[in-house]
């Protein structure tokens, strides 16, 4: 039920706040999704789509940072200090 799939915004179709829509590509398959909750997402951005609605814009830097951190894990046979979860600063 809570599954959500990452897709790339191809074309914005409608900017109306309630009916905002864009064409989103998922692994080669395109589908029109509601963008009402990610109004600031741009074409080329990746969004997480759940039940036809984009619920989050995927943070590419954060994804790369994590993969980078993980690729260094165990590099020095346990000496690497694992800092997986970076807390966002308090607002």
């Amino acid at each position: 039920m809570c599954l959500a799939v990452p897709g790339r915004i191809v074309t914005w179709l409608d900017r109306d706040p309630t009916f905002a829509r864009a064409e989103v590509e998922f692994d080669g398959v395109r589908r029109v999704c509601s963008m009402a909750c990610v109004a600031d997402a741009a074409e080329g951005d990746y969004v997480l789509v759940h039940a036809g609605l984009a619920i989050s814009r995927i943070d590419a830097d954060e994804a790369n940072r994590l993969l980078d951190d993980l690729s260094r894990l165990n590099d020095r046979d346990g000496e690497f200090s694992y800092e997986s979860s970076r807390q966002e600063p308090e607002p």
Binding site: P6, C37, H50, I55
Partner: protein, 378 residues
């Protein structure tokens, strides 16, 4: 698929498994809240691989499973009315109420249609002005924005033939109810990543300080899950309890404000019965009075029936609260199978019983047959 394949990388998964083994000095008890995570843990054999390091208790995060039978009975009754179509997600239509499922009702002439999105149901109503289109709105905070948006769209279009049977549930009150239960053994939570994508994770701070359990926001791919498990183990070993975000690419501290505003405009927090768990205070959502015309109970003048007494051979309540594993239920795999389920967790693609039936049946070599990641060499 980008942002999926990288997080299924077996090498990264192996590193994380090694790190979890290195970090843990005892067997900690963690609960993954979300049913989608339960399926991933079984599909990728993570649960079995880490069985000596962590015990994973499967949580109630399968909205279809906790939807009360009386709500299903009400939707079923609507589907049998002439000129009415009941729509919902495919899983929901297959869960039995006390009189059978919505799909079963088709043989009696019911109009029932699976849809991918609540917004598709609005479209259906717009294109069929002479037909009452009812959407059976189930799901956690992840799904509520889409159904709230459906109501806002229907209101904007002036549709008088669209309504909802609202059975939305809220995950945090259920987590608190589990921690309050006398049999509770949970030492840390893997919080449901997509609920947090909408809601953020600030609200968990109070729960963490009150119960001293780590809450780690976790995604759904193997690397995400292992990272969440490692963070739980690390905190527990150091005697810490804090809220941590291990799903930073999709979840921000404050969540998605636009989605939260959409939900708050349409819904208010309400007490709600959870199938198998009983009434959970503030455990669900109800339409605000200004949107009452979109409430199927209001529109059709019906009423939900009294709570239904469940089949005694089904121990789904114990499964949903993590008291037993699906395989400990005497009906599992015998009287209760996906094709003839006694309870919802065997029906839903997120139900814990369905996950065990698919990936871990007695005598069957676990998930090894159909998953990309099997055993992680240590």
């Amino acid at each position: 698929m980008k942002y999926v394949d990288e997080f299924r990388d077996p090498k990264l998964a192996q590193r994380l498994v090694r790190e979890i083994r290195r970090t843990g000095t005892r067997r900690w008890v963690l609960m993954e809240v979300c049913g989608g995570q339960t399926h991933s843990l079984l599909r990728y054999d993570i649960e079995a691989e880490l069985a000596d390091c962590v015990e994973l208790i499967h949580g109630p995060g399968c909205p279809v499973c906790v939807t009360p039978a009386e709500a299903i009975d009400f939707a079923r009754e609507l589907s049998l009315r002439p000129g009415t179509i009941v729509t919902s997600f495919g899983d929901m239509l297959r869960v039995p109420g006390s009189l059978g499922s919505l799909v079963d009702a088709r043989s009696q002439g019911a109009a029932v249609r699976p849809v991918y999105s609540s917004l598709d149901a609005v479209d259906l109503a717009r294109k069929n002005p002479g037909t009452q289109v009812v959407f059976f709105a189930v799901g956690f905070e992840t799904t509520a924005p889409a159904t709230a948006l459906a109501v806002l769209q229907a209101a904007s279009l002036g549709l008088d033939n669209f309504s909802l049977v609202v059975a939305h549930v809220r995950v945090q009150p259920a987590m608190e109810a589990l921690l309050e239960a006398p049999h509770n053994r949970i030492q840390a939570f893997l919080a449901a990543g997509h609920v947090c994508a909408v809601m953020g994770y600030e609200s968990y701070s109070e729960l963490v300080s009150r119960y001293r359990v780590p809450v780690v926001v976790t995604g759904f791919e193997p690397v995400d899950l292992l990272q969440g498990i490692l963070e739980c183990v690390r905190q527990l070993e150091q005697g810490q309890a804090s809220v941590s975000n291990c799903y930073g690419r999709s979840v921000h501290r404050g969540g998605n404000r636009a989605a939260q505003e959409c939900v708050a405009r349409v819904y208010e927090i309400a007490d709600r019965p959870w199938r198998g768990l009983g009434l959970i205070p503030a455990g669900g959502l109800a339409l605000r009075s200004e949107f009452a015309r979109f409430d199927a109970v209001h529109r059709f003048g019906g009423a939900l029936t009294l709570p239904v007494v469940e089949d005694s051979g089904c121990r789904s309540g114990d499964v949903l609260s993590g008291r037993i594993r699906p395989t400990e239920c005497p009906s599992f795999g015998r009287d209760c199978r996906p094709e003839s389920p006694l309870g919802a967790p065997m029906v839903s693609s997120e139900g814990a019983c369905a996950a065990y039936y698919r990936y871990r049946r007695e005598g069957m070599a676990a998930a090894a047959l159909n998953c990309e990641l099997t055993r992680y060499p240590t």
